[in-house]
């Protein structure tokens, strides 16, 4: 399957291809990786016998044994630190942080340790760790189960940050992350674990199996880190997004009849600057959409990059649509979420310039 064929816009319900939702695709990536490499171990809260609160590690302990897939104390610091030590030994740990909102007790071990081992030891020691963590809102998780902290990690030298938007990508990107010799933060947009999201919370979720991007081949394949994907192609404008928001902007564009290059970044560090430049120089208009809070969000970096590199191609100011600079509220979740109205108005504005 080519990278451009994974758009969620196409539906082929009559097909015998194997179709997986994102949870199953992640589970498959872990399974395929563990089978290939004895040094891969999985640990985290509830990941062992139970198989994870979102079921991403279901069945793996039974298959690979308790010394390769095991539960941990409720200590994100300890989980990341143990992974750093295991990486120094020569293992390739894939710890799970149950919710991205819980990752902060492990930040020192990620930022000061995992991210800098290679540098400070002149490559004597490395941290080939992939930290998986469900992130983002839209599941009524309140302020401690909804955050999108990707910009914090993007700011750290030595960390790669990856965010898949489809089951096909989730598997290929996760295998790449695990095989990468540097620490990778792998944020899984939990709102789209079971199906892509149109942005209309009051409409039923359409399961992944109705979409081509859920066709996940068996066995091993990789999608390179640092390479974006065009989710849709169009000449009117470029929309830069990742994770859940890729699907929301696709849906809004479909609804409004706008033909856009929707660039699913897939990796935010290193970001695919070539694809961004190629598309923005073609369309001359750029909208950046993320669910995370606005101020100093990754959209600010993207806006700066586009302005620095594509200024003379721009026909309108770069726009950002983001979450608000508040904690993620529980009852007002959908007022917070950058949904179709906020995106639609930004599209109208940018296209009217």
């Amino acid at each position: 399957m080519s990278d451009t064929a994974t758009t969620t816009a196409t539906k082929t319900e009559e097909s015998t291809d194997r179709r997986l939702n994102m949870i199953e695709a992640i589970n498959d990536a872990l399974d395929v990786s563990m089978k290939r490499d004895d040094n891969i171990v999985i640990m985290g809260e509830d990941v062992g016998y139970f198989g994870g609160v979102f079921r991403c590690t279901a069945g793996l302990q039974e298959k690979y044994g308790k010394s390769r897939v095991f539960d941990t104390p409720i200590s994100e610091c300890g989980i990341i630190a143990a992974a750093v030590g295991m990486g120094a030994y020569g293992l390739r740990p894939v710890p799970e942080i149950q919710f991205a909102d819980y990752i902060y007790p492990g930040l020192d071990q990620l930022i000061s340790e995992a991210a800098r081992l290679r540098y400070r030891s002149a490559a004597e020691y490395t941290a080939p760790i992939t930290v998986r963590s469900p992130f983002g809102g839209g599941i009524f998780g309140g302020q401690t189960h909804s955050q999108s902290p990707e910009a914090i990690f993007a700011h750290v030298s030595g960390l790669k940050t990856v965010i898949p938007a489809t089951p096909y990508d989730a598997k290929g990107l996760l295998i790449s992350a695990i095989e990468d010799n540097d620490p990778v933060i792998f944020f899984e947009p939990k709102r789209i674990y079971n199906g892509p999201f149109s942005g209309y919370y009051d409409k039923p979720v359409e399961p992944w199996k109705r979409f081509d991007a859920s066709v996940v081949p068996e066995g091993h394949y990789t999608i390179p880190l640092g390479k974006a994907r065009y989710a849709t192609r169009g000449d009117e404008l470029t929309i830069l997004a990742y994770g859940t928001m890729v699907h929301v902007v696709e849906a809004v564009c479909r609804e409004k009849g706008i033909e856009a290059d929707v660039v699913d970044l897939r990796t935010i560090v290193p970001v695919d600057i070539e694809t961004i430049e190629e598309s923005v120089k073609k369309t001359g208009r750029c909208l950046i959409v993320h669910e995370a809070t606005r101020t100093a969000g990754f959209g600010a970096e993207l806006s700066a990059l586009v302005t620095e590199r594509c200024f003379y191609h721009l026909e309108a100011p770069v726009e950002r649509v983001t979450g608000f600079d508040t904690p993620y509220p529980h009852s007002l979740e959908w007022a917070y979420f950058p949904g179709p109205i906020r995106i639609g108005e930004a599209l109208d504005k940018i296209l009217s310039e």
């Binding site: 171990v41 104390p73 630190a81 340790e113 540098y119 400070r120 020691y125 640092g226």
Partner: protein
């Protein structure tokens, strides 16, 4: 709030007034020091439990003090490791070398050859003797005051000095603050500089060794002040949960820069006692007694290797010098403390023991000290040929961008080009001294 009384007076007028306790060390500059409150049991009095003992059966070891060398300079009791004289002389030699190295490097910093140095004076046994009780391929996760481990493991001293000088020969490419060594070849983990982060990492390494059915164990060192970090709690917890083959060494040298051990909880309990709550075998050891240090570490290594689990060791010692070259302890503690310290000096105690058993004398000691000083001096000169800390010109600029990742992504390529451009702007004729340093 109208329906409730304001303030504390009406609502709780019968309650006693609360007050905050802020720990205060017993002695400040100028004070006469009296350490008689420190309980120092007779050497040899402590029993030696079996290495596979249940931690619940050995609670007293977290509050006692394991001692082997007595005031009579003889080795006493069941913890005597009964090392042969050659091994004892080797131990003394490593400690003396560590001390000579510290003296020279401290002076080098004062002479402007580097930015920073940290001595371990008075604490040599906690690294040298403990390290001797481990196998050479057991993995160590040290803090910043365990240079004795590298000296004991035979790491070339010139590499240490190159690192301290951040010179051309520095294997770490001038990236790390002096003394933050790394040597995978010597199973010595890269020193962080952030405190206590290495302790749960050591546990993770030990877990990995157990996962792979290896026979190597891990040991980590942390200061008593740094046990306050959450990382140390994580280390203890993961160590006990997974019965990890790891030794958690806490060097209690009484002082964390200017904060005495009371700010890490020492007024209420010992540091070894922290292990009890986790169900970790915990030993409190005279850290200035090289034989006790060796024996305790050996006990813990045997335990770990037998799959019997982790050990927490508190080495009770004293930081005889300042925290670092950036510190002047005369501003916060009594200068008498060092002289009055009831557990003496580890180098002197081992020397006196060897003399006592007829295996050493003052002349040989003087000769050894001289040889150590001369070796350090000679090695320092060799290292200085690689340059001293200059103006960042010892390493090609592009090395600044290497090893952030395995590969150089586009944004670092662009930034590297900028750095090289700035160098060419500043030095259009090329680097001064032909690029050999400022």
């Amino acid at each position: 709030m109208a329906d409730r009384p304001e303030g504390n007076a009406e609502a709780g007028e019968n309650r006693p007034k609360l007050s905050l306790h802020v720990p205060e060390p017993k002695f400040r500059p100028g004070d006469t020091v009296d350490f008689s409150h420190i309980e120092v049991p007779e050497a040899g009095q402590q029993p030696r439990p079996d290495e596979t003992s249940d931690p619940r059966d050995m609670l007293d070891f977290a509050h006692g003090l394991i001692r082997v060398l007595g005031d009579d300079n003889k080795a006493h009791g069941p913890w005597d490791p009964k090392l042969d004289p050659d091994t004892l002389r080797t131990m003394l030699g490593h400690m003396a070398m560590t001390r000579a190295f510290d003296e020279r490097m401290f002076r080098g910093q004062r002479q402007g050859k580097t930015s920073f140095y940290m001595k371990c004076t008075g604490e040599e046994a906690t690294s040298v003797s403990a390290s001797m009780a481990l196998a050479a391929d057991d993995m160590v996760f040290p803090s910043y005051r365990q240079q004795g481990i590298l000296i004991q493991r035979g790491y070339p001293m010139i590499e240490m000095i190159n690192q301290i000088y951040s010179n051309r020969g520095d294997k770490l490419k001038g990236r790390q603050l002096p003394i933050m060594y790394s040597s995978k070849e010597h199973s010595f983990f890269t020193i962080s500089g952030n405190l206590a982060t290495q302790t749960p990492q050591a546990v993770g390494w030990a877990m990995a060794s157990a996962i792979k059915g290896d026979s190597r164990i891990a040991a980590t060192w942390v200061g008593e002040g740094s046990t306050a970090e959450g990382d140390f709690h994580s280390a203890c917890l993961f160590a006990t949960v997974y019965n990890a083959p790891v030794i958690l060494n806490v060097v209690n040298n009484q002082w964390a820069i200017s904060s005495f051990s009371g700010f890490a909880g020492a007024e209420r309990s010992t540091f070894a006692a922290r292990g009890i709550g986790y169900g970790i075998a915990s030993l409190r050891v005279d850290g200035n007694d090289p034989l006790a240090c060796f024996a305790a570490e050996q006990w813990a290594a045997n335990r770990a290797r037998a799959n019997a689990g982790p050990t927490l060791i508190e080495f009770f010692s004293y930081r005889a010098e300042g925290h670092s070259t950036s510190d002047d302890p005369s501003g916060y503690r009594s200068a008498q403390e060092r002289d009055e310290w009831p557990l003496g000096d580890p180098v002197m105690r081992l020397k006196n023991h060897l003399i006592e058993i007829g295996e050493w004398d003052e002349d040989r000691q003087a000769k050894m000290d001289l040889e150590a000083a001369e070796f350090v001096k000679k090695t320092t000169k060799e290292a200085e040929a690689n340059g001293i800390l200059g103006h960042g010109l010892h390493h090609p600029f592009h090395t600044m961008f290497e090893d952030v990742f395995e590969d150089l992504p586009w944004h670092l390529q662009e930034q590297a080009a900028q750095a090289i451009h700035e160098r060419e702007t500043k030095f259009p004729e090329g680097l001064p001294n032909g690029g050999k340093g400022a």
